[in-house]
Each structure stands twice: as C-alpha cells, then as structure tokens.
Symmetry: C2
Subunit: 63 residues, 2 copies
C-alpha cells in the first residue's frame, strides 16, 4: 500500500494533517484536495513543498 502521510508546514512548524492519503489534486491555484483511503477528504490552502514517495511523506507549505 502506497498511501502517504501529509504534513502542512507553517513557518518552522510542521503538522501531520492527514494519514493514509490516497490522492492529491489541485482544486484551483493554491488549493489542494486530499483524499484519504477511507473516503475522507480535506481542502488545504497550500503549495507542494516536497513529495517523498519512498518515505511516504508529502509536505505542503501553507499559504
């Protein structure tokens, strides 16, 4: 299973905002929709900071 944990970075802080994320897609500029393995979803005002597929970690940077 290749779902990832998604972290949101605000300044120096980094917070885990969703585990087991299955998909991420842009809704509009500066907004991403995260979809979880269990059907949950969340919109985040952010840009992509890093996608680490081997580490199962995706980092977004808050706008």
């Amino acid at each position: 299973m290749c779902e990832s944990n998604v972290f949101l970075k605000k300044g120096q802080d980094e917070e885990l905002i969703m585990e087991n994320v299955a998909a991420i897609s842009p809704v509009r500029e500066g907004v991403f929709l995260l979809k979880g393995l269990l059907g949950e979803s969340m919109e985040v005002n952010a840009i992509i900071e890093d996608i680490n597929l081997m580490g199962h970690k995706i980092t977004l940077k808050a706008l």
Copy 2:
C-alpha cells in the same frame, strides 16, 4: 516500494517521462525536479495535475 511513474500532459496527450520516481520537489515556480530510484533526475516545466498514490501515477501538466 512506492515509487511512481510520472506522466507529462500536453494538451490532450500524456507521455510517460520517468519511471520509478522516488521524490519530487519544486525548484522554483513552475519547475519541478524529479528524482529517480537509481539517482537519475530531470527538471520539468510543469504544475501538478494529479497525484494518485494508490495507482503509482503522478500527472504533471506542461507549462
């Protein structure tokens, strides 16, 4: 192993530009650096169109 295949979409066409991608990070606005499992790398002028972790498929949209 959770590396993904990265596709680049230009208009209606979609091309596989790198297999076994381990990490993706922004270099500057509109440019992403792809890093492969074997150490290869590639810069692409694109934005994120879709990240499908379960399907091991990341789609970028050419700028």
